[in-house]
């Protein structure tokens, strides 16, 4: 149905309009969504980067993400539980979304001190040629109560307390840090839902005005915004004088010209649980006269949506607001944070209604991002019923943090070993609470029940149809014997002869010289057998952090494989090579089958959380003090290392 693109212009080269990077979203399966604006759709996001150091402008790198696809949120700037050296092992880690609020603990935020072409990439250790980085003010999965937002500031949460962030500051940080995309600030209240119509109307006005503020800062000499008066903390100690604009800046004021150096902007779609409010906000983005900012502010555009590269919706806050709304109108707790039973069905239907209210007035060719989906079930429904393009991975990271190894695939693969573990309702669980004692002697790979094997399991070349290689660091541990990257320490042995793995000599290259060895190393990667459920069970019970590294890595890989499966089924329908088994309803059928076969994760996560808490209490921080209190020294011995 076409594509949209947004460009970031290199502001450092005055007079040059050469785009520094281009963000594009293309829907490749128009026929899928022709019947409805909200049918499932295939597409891809691409970011093309030109090397500005290369004078010819020919050196480019391009990052492609097929959709429906995944993006990953960072926590304090890191992917939870994964160290940087493990990032390259994860093909799913292409788009990282960076909640910026934790960096507001310092003023100015420390990443803004970083110099270079891509300061945010450099500070966080991501590579421009491999990673798309977006900046978002708040963690989209955090819905806890917060102080009120004001006309010109949003309240954000840091470890040192609440900070205020103004749209002008947000713009400044984006200009300094060169992320590939930014999410606009939105006035989402986290105070006391449900919210009145008046409050929602105020949200709409403010959010629209704040996007306008991103397009164009206030002209120099304009009165200081209320932000400064409202909260002295936001004022910088350095540049700002009492009469200067509130947003401090180490960057000179940007001219109000069409060639904006700001990265492409994604707008969070707001309006809480009111379809009318959500619709009203969508209209505000399309109107030529918007209530908040004056029209000058959105130049060069005639309405806000022209300046937007995509949309996002936060389900975490919606869940919160829905449950408050339900509690205020009836006694039944209709909506839960979890994902259980009929409540979840009600949730899914409500989400669909609310998302459609937001998206219906807006152009359909821009990417739709949903934060806070919490199960494959929700993801499938949002793809099928709402045409969502990108999902965040926060829920699979949380699963890994709580000790769950995910084990599901789309389309459903035939019963494999261990699929006899079924839940009470006779359904298959989507994963394993590896704290459970039944895994102590289970030497299967983490995702064996749904057909995941390791790259070292001997089927890597052409796995049978009911098998798929899981590329995570748990299932496919890469052998480093003879690795050129291997760190050498002074005088070192050149070979580690390993009976299990394959060393350089075993590959028959001993006499072929360094050149041959290097070529071979490039081509051959050798893997050990997968780390087992029993090992991760052991690590969980001994409170070892490595357990979570394995689980997060694995869970992200399973989510990516799941979405790859979704794309696979969708492409069979719309790709032109329609096979006899593929009908336009094949995707719907596979979705129904998945929903029928797999249990929702509510109970699984609940059990894992309980075990996690028990082990954490027995072994986590403050354990010694707790045991001293109890006067109980038996059991203390278990975890101490000496």
């Amino acid at each position: 149905m076409g594509s949209i693109s947004s460009e970031t212009v290199d502001s450092s080269q005055a007079g040059s309009s050469r785009p520094k990077s281009t963000f594009e979203f293309t829907i490749s399966s128009p026929e899928l969504s022709s019947s409805s604006k909200f049918g499932p759709r295939l597409g891809h996001v691409s970011l093309t980067r030109r090397d500005t150091a290369d004078a010819s402008g020919k050196a480019t790198s391009r990052i492609d993400i097929q959709t429906p696809g995944v993006l990953t949120n960072t926590s304090r700037g890191v992917i939870p539980h994964l160290s940087r050296d493990n990032y390259p092992s994860h093909s799913a880690l292409k788009w990282m979304n960076v909640p910026f609020e934790s960096f507001l603990e310092h003023n100015p935020p420390v990443p803004t001190l970083q110099v270079g072409e891509q300061p945010l990439h450099a500070f966080l250790g991501f590579q421009g040629q491999n990673h798309i980085l977006s900046m978002i003010a708040r963690d989209p999965n955090e819905a806890k109560e917060m102080p009120v937002n004001q006309n010109h500031v949003v309240s954000v949460s840091t470890l040192r307390g609440v900070r205020k962030l103004s749209p002008d500051e947000w713009r400044t940080y984006a200009l300094q840090l060169h992320p590939d995309l930014i999410f606009a600030l939105a006035d989402t209240p986290f105070t006391n839902p449900p919210y009145s119509q008046k409050r929602l109307m105020k949200s709409i006005d403010r959010s629209a005005a704040w996007i306008g503020r991103l397009f164009n800062p206030p002209p120099a000499g304009a009165p200081a915004s209320k932000a400064k008066n409202a909260n002295p903390k936001t004022a910088t100690s350095t540049a700002a004088t009492p009469s200067s604009p509130a947003t401090n800046t180490t960057t000179p004021p940007q001219p109000t010209t069409p060639s904006q150096p700001l990265p492409p902007i994604i707008a969070p779609l707001i309006g809480s649980t009111s379809p009318r409010a959500r619709e009203a906000y969508a209209h505000a983005l399309l109107e030529h006269h918007i209530p908040g900012p004056d029209l000058d502010q959105i130049r060069p555009y005639t309405f806000i949506d022209q300046g937007l590269a995509g949309y996002s919706v936060d389900l975490a806050v919606l869940r919160c607001d829905l449950s408050a709304a339900a509690a205020s109108t009836s006694a039944s707790p209709a909506v839960t944070q979890g994902d259980t039973g009929t409540d979840a069905d009600a949730n899914a239907a409500t989400f669909n209604t609310l998302l459609r209210a937001s998206l219906a007035p807006l152009p359909s060719e821009k990417p739709r991002i949903v934060f806070g989906a919490r199960s494959p079930h929700e993801i499938l429904k949002l793809v099928r019923d709402t045409g969502v393009d990108l999902f965040d991975a926060a829920w699979v990271v949380e699963m890994g943090t709580k000790g769950v190894a995910l084990d599901f695939a789309f389309p459903v693969r035939g019963a494999c070993a261990n699929s006899d573990r079924t839940t009470g309702a006779g359904k298959r669980p989507i994963g394993h609470n590896l704290y459970a004692t039944e895994y102590a002697m289970d030497f299967a790979a983490l995702g064996a029940a749904s057909g995941f094997v390791g790259a070292g399991d001997g089927v890597a070349g052409s796995p049978p149809a009911d098998r798929e290689v899981c590329t995570c660091i748990a299932c496919s541990p890469r052998v480093h014997d003879g690795d050129r990257q291997l760190i050498r320490h002074g005088f070192d042995s050149d070979v580690w002869i390993s009976p299990g793995g394959v060393g350089a000599e075993d590959l028959g290259v001993e006499g072929s010289g360094r050149q041959g060895l290097e070529e071979l190393e490039k081509e051959v990667e050798v893997y050990r057998p997968p780390h087992t459920r029993a090992y991760v069970h052991h690590l969980l019970h001994t409170h070892e952090m490595g357990a979570h590294a394995f689980l997060v890595s694995h869970n992200i890989a399973v989510l990516e494989a799941f979405l790859r499966g979704v794309r696979g089924v969708l492409s069979r329908i719309g790709g032109g090579d329609v096979t006899p088994t593929s009908t336009p309803t094949a995707f719907e059928e596979e979705v129904e089958k998945f929903l029928r076969v797999y249990e929702r994760p509510g109970a699984l996560l609940g059990e894992a959380e309980k075990s996690w808490r028990e082990v954490d209490l027995a072994r986590g921080k403050g354990r010694l003090a707790r045991e001293r209190e109890k006067g109980d020294h038996v059991g203390l011995a278990d975890d101490l290392e000496v």
């Binding site: 160290s83 500070f123 291997l486 760190i487 320490h489 390993s498 019970h541 020294h633 290392e641």
Partner: protein, 396 residues
């Protein structure tokens, strides 16, 4: 040193993987760091996952996916340090099971049996451990018992048929008393044909550094040239340097990995406590020249300050770095020894690591006995006592 799982160059430092994992890191990451020998704790593995699981998995190597060399201790040290209920009898160590509270006996035979199941390339005799601060007849009793237990361990090990793939080390005891140490050395060296290496035990328990190095020197001088010498529980860089100079080949300690989790990065210029706010805006990596993944990714001190103690990924980053730091310190020592420049290396190490802060007096004294004068041609303060270097909030 060639073992069943490959070659490990000596002298070396062994990172400690108490529970069958270097905290937070995968076996593959350890491989990539160029580490070829790690340590597991028998006491812990016997409790969790337990021998049933290890046997079913095919040993600890397979269980943790580690295909290089592995050493296990005997479990004796943890019995004493972790359980106040442990009673030592001639038969073995009687202790209350941490799970059931039931009296359980760990005999020398059982310790070796467990270590056979774990399958480590180097296994340690069960010794009668007393704190290095203990004085009186208990120390002598423990020394003699350790010799008797060594004989039982040797017998059991040789009859098991595992002596081809697993190497038994003796542990020299005798507290801080040179006479007892001499007796123990005498006895244990006489069993040289049946032991693959020797450890120096009963140190690093809070004794005076001045006593510590003299015992190390005494043991290292007498232990046979053709057997590796392993100094247990040594991990501070200056301790390692002195021990290597005195003739030690192997050492282990949880210090580098534990201190990483508390936010401390070890460098050739002394430790950096990254929790301190003075690092909050410092965009330099920990060490420009360090080959570890953390430093080569240019992860800044500021970024580390932002995440230490909040994100496990920070612990991983610092653990990666500290493991590489220890390996570099030892690797450079190997290089210098081969080049015949070890005395110069010692001098440059101390100059970089301590610099103006002053050299520990005990290091100066210890190295003088092997003909290295750290103070030769340099004027720095000499600090009595332990004098380990640390970075405090109000430090320089």
């Amino acid at each position: 040193m060639t073992l069943a799982h490959g070659v490990t160059m000596l002298p070396t430092f062994m990172p400690v993987a108490t529970q069958a994992a270097i905290k937070g890191l995968t076996a593959q990451q350890m491989e990539s760091l160029g580490v070829s020998l790690i340590l597991n704790n028998t006491y812990h593995l016997n409790l969790r996952p337990g021998l049933d699981v290890l046997n079913a998995a095919g040993g600890a190597h397979r269980f943790q996916g580690w295909n290089r060399n592995l050493l296990t201790d005997s479990g004796g040290f943890q019995l004493v340090s972790l359980s106040k209920f442990t009673t030592i009898t001639e038969e073995g160590a009687l202790f209350a099971s941490p799970f059931t509270g039931e009296p359980t006996m760990l005999t020398p035979e059982e310790s070796i049996n467990i270590q056979h199941a774990i399958g480590a390339d180097i296994i340690m005799q069960l010794d009668d451990v007393v704190s290095s601060l203990t004085v009186g007849p208990r120390v002598e009793e423990a020394m003699h018992r350790s010799i008797r237990w060594l004989d039982r361990c040797i017998d059991f090990h040789q009859k098991s048929g595992k002596s081809d793939s697993q190497n038994l080390f003796a542990i020299v005891q005798g507290g801080l008393d040179p006479k007892l140490r001499d007796q123990c050395l005498e006895e244990m060296i006489s069993r040289k044909d049946r032991v693959a290496g020797y450890a120096i035990g009963g140190l690093s328990g809070g004794e005076e550094k001045d006593v510590f190095w003299r015992i190390i020197k005494q043991c290292a001088e007498r232990l046979p040239e053709d057997r590796p010498r392993y100094s247990m529980g040594i991990g501070f860089a200056e301790d390692l340097m002195v021990c290597v100079a005195l003739g030690v080949d192997m050492a282990d300690c949880v210090f580098p990995t534990r201190t990483a989790r508390f936010g401390v990065a070890l460098t050739h210029k002394g430790p950096l406590n990254l929790k301190l706010s003075k690092h909050a805006k410092d965009l330099r990596p920990i060490d420009e020249d360090c080959p570890c993944p953390t430093c080569t990714s240019k992860m800044s001190r500021a970024m580390l300050n932002h995440v230490v103690t909040h994100e496990t990924a920070a612990a991983h980053a610092l653990t990666l770095h500290n493991v590489v730091f220890q390996a570099q310190v030892m690797g450079r020592a190997r290089e210098a020894i081969i080049a015949g420049t070890f005395p110069d290396y010692l001098k440059s190490f101390f100059r970089d690591y301590f610099g103006e802060a002053g050299y520990p007096e005990w290091c100066v004294n210890a190295l003088r006995t092997v003909g290295v004068d750290l103070l030769d041609g340099i004027s720095v303060p000499v600090i009595p006592g332990n004098a380990a270097k640390w970075e405090y909030a109000d430090g320089p």
